[in-house]
Structure formats: C-alpha cells, structure tokens
C-alpha cells in the first residue's frame, strides 16, 4: 500500500496561555481535496503554518510520502512540493504580473522563459492572465489567479488554499473549482480551508474538523448536511436566524446621487449612488471586493464628505457635508471593513475603544471628562453579550484574535441602539456560533426600528438576513431588489454589469 501524501501525527503547538494544536493527527491522500473545517481560533491557521514551514510544532511529527518531513521555512516546504495560496495576497500593485511572479519564486526559475511558462500554465488550467499587466489594474479574482499561477509554477504535490473564495463572484468560484478539480485529476492534492460549508460539500472529498485545537472528527462532507457540519464544528446545536416580517418604518437613511472621486491611485470613484433604507429593514450591498465598497463606507461614515448636503440624509436631516461626529449624534453607528487601526486602536484597552465611538450616544463623557466606570460597564456589556473571548477589558485590543475583535467592534456599534447601522462584512472571521449571535442581534435591531445597511461579499449571509439587495460594481450601485425575487446567478451577472441588473459583462453600463 502506498503511503498517504502527507501524514500528521500528534502535532502539538503551544502559545503562552493557549494550546493552539493539541495532538492533531490527520492524513491527506494523493489526488484528494481535503477540507480543514473549524471555528475561528480552532487552530486551522496554526496547523497550516506548521505544514508550510512558517512555524515548527512543539511535539509530533509529519511524513511526506512516507518520509520524515519537518520544514524549517516556507522555501523548504515549497522545495518539497507544498505550495500555499494565502488569503491575503502578497503582490505589489505597481509591478506587472510577470514581475510579481518572478519575485515570489526561486531565482533560478525566474531567470529564463518565465513569461512562456506563465502563459503555458495559465492556459492549461483556464486561468486567463496577461503577464504584462500591472497588478494594480487587476480585479481581486485576477489577483488570486496570479497567486495560484505562482504556486503552480513550482509544480506542487499539495496546494494549501486559505479561504480562497471570500473575494470571488459565484461565477469566478465555479471557474476556480473547475481548476482545482482539474489539478486533482492530474495528481495534485489540495488542503482546502474554508468556513463556507456549501462549498466544502460541493468540492471536497474528505473533511477534518478542528475544534479547540483538537481534530474532533473526520467525515465525507458530501454525506453530511451543511447544518450538521456546522454543528460538528461548534460542538453544539445551531438554530438558524429566523427572518421575521416586520412592518417597515419611514426612510431613515437616504443616499441620493452621491458622486465622489477617489483620492487613491487605485481607488474607485463612486458614481451616482442612490439608496433608501427604511426602519426595520436590512439592506444588503453585494459586490466583489474593490468595487467601491471601501469608498462608499468612507462616504457614509463621513470620513470623506459628499459634495452636497442632501447627498446623504439621516432621518431626513441632510448630513452630506457634516463629519462623523454629527452623524453619530443623529444615531448613525458603523463598522468599517478594516477593524485594526480603523475600527479600533490596537494599543488602547477595550474600554478605551468603547469610548472611541460610543462616547456621545452612550453618554460616556460629561463636560468633556471621560466617565471611566460607565465606559467600563459598557465595554463589559459588549464583551458579555457578544461572547468576546478576552483576558479583560483592561487589556489592549491588540491582544484579541481577529474574530473576537470583530465581535467586539460589531457589539460596540450594535449595542448603542442606533437609528442607522452600517456594517461592512459583519461576520468576517467569526465562527458559526458568533455569526449566528451577530445575525440575531441585527434582526432584533431591525425589529426595533433600526435601518441596517450591510456591505458584504458573503452572498449566503446577505440572502440569510437582508430583505433587499443591491449590487455595487465599478463604483455604481444597482437598484435594490427584494431577496425573494433574486438568485445567486442574477447577482453574479450584476457584479460584472456596472450598476445594472441584466446587462452582460462588457456591455454599456446601464444606469438606473
């Protein structure tokens, strides 16, 4: 019997105060797509870093094709045929595709005939790429192709993919899956990390479930329901959010003909964006990352002012040219996409970060003096209600993991009883249990009359909680449509259609 491609035996990794991996044993066969499933903080990334040679285990050993395997650095892992496509791309926007690829591979490979090989690999796997284009001009999906091609050029036996679909349109995901299946048919194996259960069910042959650092189970995901997988992941039963039908209130957030040129080199200009969100409604904005979401968030928060007062109205008050402080006083709370350094100050404590945005609405200051006990009570409430895992509100936000920071920032904005709540990626990086909590909070806020605007790349999420969805593409926003009259395919098409619904990609933008 031939040995498995990669075997892990009793891999253990300790960090101060945390057991990140606790005697994890798993094996990946040849020509297999193996899913690694787990909540945030379950130890997925640590395990993957150990396989890719970024970290070394404290205990346990690995075998590659039956031989001892203990990489000291990523280059060594790559030399032995293990490649990785990270969630965050490491590309230089100012360089071309070929230059970026040359930078990421060994000097010997980069020297001769690189462009030909890029062309060969990208056509062979249906990954269309022009080696001479600047990366700054590429869409996120194309950037991912650059990373994949870079990985494939090293002819890997095992490719690790960390949440590869979070930035893709449904159509792009389908193309990616075809590529992956093709790779497997040619003898490659794939370790696929994701929290999107439907994808894992569609793509993967086997799944290992990590919980609290331990491998708690293995299954064939095709035989399990997504619901069952989620329950195995969090270890308890899960109640999906119930979208109740609430009576709609008056328009609380109105954006009319918002046009704003970006001040960044590779930014997106907003063009004639208009929308209305009523009290009791959750309005979703779908779109592939980098199509104006960041710019729209800045404009709505008030970090960049609109050209006309009436471009943005909160409860009928024109605030287009007023800053964030005025908008907050009127009842706006918001969660920007970047939590670290934007939505929070990493070196400040949790309670100080509560003061950052809740100062006015929660009356955390009197006569300009910070009411420390009140601020601490509010921060404590956020931690408790959202289940933020922290060593205490006196600790720096820097010490929180990504998912826990996300819960804290979302909670801070949701618990202020806002008139209008705007959130980018409300459940980014949190586990299924916490996502359910956040969704429950959002729905109960809507029920109490808050107007909620969600900007997300996660279509499942948008379909689960929003009542209407609009699509942003190239800085234009399509008219909104009720969720029950929408399909994933329609949204996917609109993502390429620059502000309309039916137009195919490449056609003249149809602006409504």
């Amino acid at each position: 019997m031939t040995p498995a491609l990669l075997e892990l035996h009793g891999i253990t990794k300790r960090f101060p105060g945390v057991l990140a991996n606790d005697a994890v044993t798993l094996s990946i066969d040849h020509k297999e797509i193996h899913a690694l499933l787990g909540e945030n903080g379950a130890g997925k990334s640590t395990l993957v870093k150990i396989i890719y040679g970024v970290m070394r285990p404290d205990d346990g050993f690995m075998r590659l094709n039956g031989e001892a395997y203990a990489p000291h650095k990523p280059a060594e892992a790559r030399g032995k045929g293990i490649g990785m496509v990270f969630q965050q791309f490491s590309l230089f926007e100012g360089l071309t595709v070929a230059e970026n690829i040359a930078l990421g591979i060994s000097a010997k490979m980069a020297r001769s005939g690189l462009r030909e090989r890029i062309a060969a690999v990208s056509t062979a796997y249906g990954l269309r790429l022009d080696p001479d284009r600047r990366v700054g001009k590429l869409s996120v999906g194309e950037r991912q192709r650059v990373e994949i091609v870079r990985c494939l050029l090293q002819e890997p036996k095992l490719i690790i993919m960390d949440e590869p679909t979070s930035v893709l349109t449904p159509q792009e995901i389908e193309v990616l899956f075809q590529t992956l299946r093709r790779l497997v048919s040619e003898g490659c194996s794939i370790l696929y990390i994701s929290h999107k259960l439907e994808e894992i069910r569609a793509l993967c042959d086997r799944a290992t479930i990590l919980r609290g650092g331990k491998a708690v189970g293995e299954c064939d995901p095709k035989q399990q329901s997504a619901h069952r997988l989620a329950e195995m992941m969090i270890g308890t039963t899960l109640v999906p959010p119930q979208r109740a039908a609430f009576g709609l209130g008056p328009v609380r957030l109105k954006v009319a003909d918002l046009t704003l040129a970006s001040d960044e080199q590779f930014g997106v200009d907003l063009e004639h964006v208009g929308l209305e969100v009523r009290g009791g409604e959750i309005f979703g904005i779908a779109g592939v990352a980098g199509n104006g979401q960041a710019e729209l968030m800045e404009a709505l928060i008030g970090e960049r002012l609109a050209n006309a007062p009436g471009a943005i109205e909160i409860d009928g008050v024109p605030v287009g040219v007023r800053g964030p402080a005025v908008r907050r006083a009127l009842g706006l709370t918001c969660v920007p996409e970047e939590r670290v350094g934007h939505g929070s100050v990493p070196d400040m404590t949790l309670w100080e970060n509560a003061v950052l945005t809740a100062k006015t609405r929660m009356k955390l200051a009197t006569w300009g003096f910070i009411g420390v006990p009140r601020a601490k009570r509010f921060a404590g409430k956020v931690v408790q209600e959202l289940g933020v895992r922290t060593r205490g509100i006196e600790h720096a936000v820097r010490s929180l993991s990504g998912g826990n920071l996300q819960k804290f920032v979302m909670g801070r904005e949701m618990l202020q009883a806002p008139a209008v709540l705007i959130a980018a990626q409300p459940t980014w990086g949190v586990d299924a249990g916490a996502a359910a909590t956040i969704h429950k909070f959002l729905l109960s806020l809507a029920q109490s009359g808050t107007a909620i605007l969600i900007v997300s790349q996660d279509l499942d999420e948008l379909f689960a909680i929003s009542s209407r969805i609009a699509v942003i593409a190239g800085g234009r926003l399509s008219p909104a449509r009720p969720v029950d009259r929408l399909t994933t395919q329609q949204i996917g098409l609109a993502m390429g259609a620059h502000g309309g619904w039916e137009a195919p990609p490449g056609a003249e933008p149809t602006h409504a």
């Binding site: 060994s106 970090e303 964030p324 100080e352 910070i370």
Partner: protein, 374 residues
C-alpha cells in the same frame, strides 16, 4: 541574521521598568567611561549624581534647572502623544522669553503685581505664536513639522540675539549685548537660593496634563490621533484642530519656560538664554514615558546631570561634554530597551536570495520602534 518580531501585547510592567533599566545601564556605561578616562569612576559618579543632593543649595538648583525641563517636556509629551513631532521647543522657548521680556522692558521702570502675569501671558503667547508657524504649514500644506519646527529654532535664537544686540539692548549697558535687568522677577521659593515659583507652575502643569491625557476627551482624541489616525477620523475627531491644539499647547509651555528663565535666574534677556533646555526636554519627555508623573521625575534626573556635570567639571576637570554624554546615553539606552520591549529578537539562518513574499508578512523586520503608549 537577527530579526525583530513584534510582540503581540508588549508587557506593561516592562514598559514602566525600562526607564529604570536605562538609568542603570547609563550609570554602568558611565563607570566604564570614567575608567577609560583614568578618573576614579565611583568618586566621579558620586560627584555627579549624589553630591548635588546633599545641600539645600544643590536641591534648589535642581528645581531651577528642572522647572524649564519639566514645563517644556509636558507640552512636548502632549504633542508627541498625538504623533505631532514638535522638535522646535528651543525656539519657542527663546521667543517666549523675548515676548515676555519685551513686555517687562516696555513698562520699564514701572513695577506692580500685574506685571508678572502680563509677562507670563506674553511669554505663552510668544511661544504659541512661534509654534503656530509649523502648525499652519502642516495643516495647510502638509509640510513636515519636524523639519519646519527644528529650522525655526535657529531663526528664533538669531532673532533674540539680534534684538538683544539692537533694539532691546541696555542703553546704560556699555554696549554689552544684553537687555536692562528686569524690575520684576519671579518670587523666590526657598529663601537664600534661586529656586522660584516657576517650579510650582511646573507641578500644576504636571497635574493638569495628567487630567487632560488620562481623563479628558480631548486628551483621548490626541492619543487616538497619535496611535491610529484612521481611527481618529472614524471617531469623528478633527485632525486639523488637534494638530493646532498640540502645537499651541507645547509652544505655550515652552514659551512660559523661556519667560521663567529670563525673569527668574537670569533676570534679563541675553543671547545665550536658550541653552539647550528645549532639546534636553525631548529626552525628558521620552525618559518619562510621555507620562506627566514620569516627566517630573525624569526632568529632575536630567537637571541633576546638568548640576553634577558642572560640579565634575570643576572638581575633577572633566570635559564639559560630560553632561551631554550622560543625557545622550539615557536616551540611547531607553530607545534600545524599548525596541526589545516591543519586539522579540530571533536569530534566523541566512536566507536564500529568492525572497519569500509570504514569510515576509509573518516577521517584518523592525526598522522603527512603535510609539510608546502608556
């Protein structure tokens, strides 16, 4: 190759312990230095760091030198906390002395209870006005405030010098480049010494700035601006307004310190009035961890190096640079220790020339230390 990896949550205890570590290392290096110079090291250290504290006069002198250091450093700390790098306190000090001194001379020979407060206000206004120049250039044209404020030091010092040589020169002073002696001077705190009430003002500044930074929303906004400018914008804090506030406060503090120096120990305007307090105060601010109480202690410590350095010059014929060497070592050891508090050094085998863009994000080489954040 040695690499520095950022620590997840730098130790809070070490953050406050490093100044003491720096002091210890400085003393150690001082002993080595004196040994190399063939001076008895322990006697020299005793002379510099202990001798001045054994007499009332010495303690009074400590307050005289410590007052401007603390006052300036308090202003600088507020500004540094906001990430506003006002390096030009020396110039604001000179202009403060000039403005306050000019008021004293304008009313010459009148005296009265009202004159000193008026001079102080003029001193504050002068320093603040000088600091307003980099503030304006930064907020209007995004000019680098480090360069602008630093270069304005030389303009200020020469302006003071030229006026003392010219318009403000003592008409009865035999053409010496100095102004008339002021008719009003700061009340003396300790009878028979030069220690003046300016020290009490310094203490008040410590208290006020502590309240501002630890309890007031304005101080909170300044800290957010310094640590995460995007978060400050998200919080709805006016960056421009905070920059102006930081410059005016730090300039005002430096200006008041300058006036105190002129109306206190010196008693007149002389070209040599700005003698480096504005730069030493930067060391004081960092050694005190940008924390008001820490600054009070650090200010007194550095004042000690001034007095001790002088004593050592006279008693052991050490070079006059002794003071500066010790001040430099304090800052050097502090910054070095800070890097280790914020980053963990790790020895890594030399890497192949094919850089690994993925690993790069795992362990960025630290080129700058993180901002101190008490």
């Amino acid at each position: 190759m040695l690499r520095l990896e950022p620590r997840r949550e730098p130790s809070r205890i070490m953050f406050y312990a490093t100044p003491f570590l720096a002091i210890g290392l400085t003393l150690l290096a001082g002993i080595v230095l004196f040994e190399a110079l063939d001076k008895p090291p322990l006697a020299a250290m005793r002379l510099i760091f202990i001798e001045p504290l054994t007499s009332l006069r010495g303690v009074a002198e400590l307050l005289v030198k410590g007052t401007p250091l603390v006052l300036i450093a308090i202003g600088l700390a507020i500004s540094f906390r906001g990430g506003i790098w006002n390096i030009g306190a020396e110039g604001q000090f000179a202009i403060g002395a000039l403005a306050g001194g000019a008021v004293a001379l304008a009313f010459y020979p009148a005296t009265g209870w009202w004159l000193l407060p008026l001079m102080s206000l003029a001193g504050i206004a002068g320093g603040a006005a000088w600091a307003a120049i980099p503030a304006l250039l930064r907020t209007r044209f995004n000019a680098n405030e480090i360069l602008v404020s630093l270069m304005l030091v030389y303009v200020a010092v020469l302006l003071l010098s030229s006026l003392v040589h010219g318009a403000l020169r003592d008409p009865d002073g035999l053409n010496f480049p100095e102004s008339r002696l002021f008719q009003t001077s700061l009340p003396i705190l300790i009878e028979g010494t030069r220690a003046h009430v300016g020290f009490l003002v310094g203490l008040a500044a410590v208290l006020l700035s502590w309240v501002l930074l630890e309890r007031h929303v304005l101080g909170f906004k300044i800290k957010v601006l310094g640590q995460a400018p995007r978060a400050a914008r998200y919080g709805g804090f006016s960056e421009q307004g905070l920059i102006w506030f930081c410059f005016l406060v730090s300039g005002g503090c430096a200006g008041l310190a300058g006036l105190f120096e002129a109306a206190g120990p010196v008693g007149q305007l002389v070209p040599a009035l700005p003698s480096g307090y504005g730069f030493t105060a930067i060391v004081v601010a960092f050694l005190g961890r940008l924390n008001p109480v820490g600054i009070l202690l650090a200010g007194l410590l550095l004042a000690l190096t001034y007095i001790g350095g002088e004593t050592a010059q006279i008693a052991m014929s050490l070079p006059s640079a002794t003071t500066a060497v010790f001040q430099g070592m304090f800052l050097f050891f502090l910054l070095a220790a800070d890097v280790l508090v914020n980053y963990r050094p790790r020895w890594i085998a030399k890497r192949s020339p094919a850089a690994d863009p993925c690993a790069r994000s795992e362990a960025p080489v630290a080129t700058m230390q993180r901002l101190p954040t008490p």
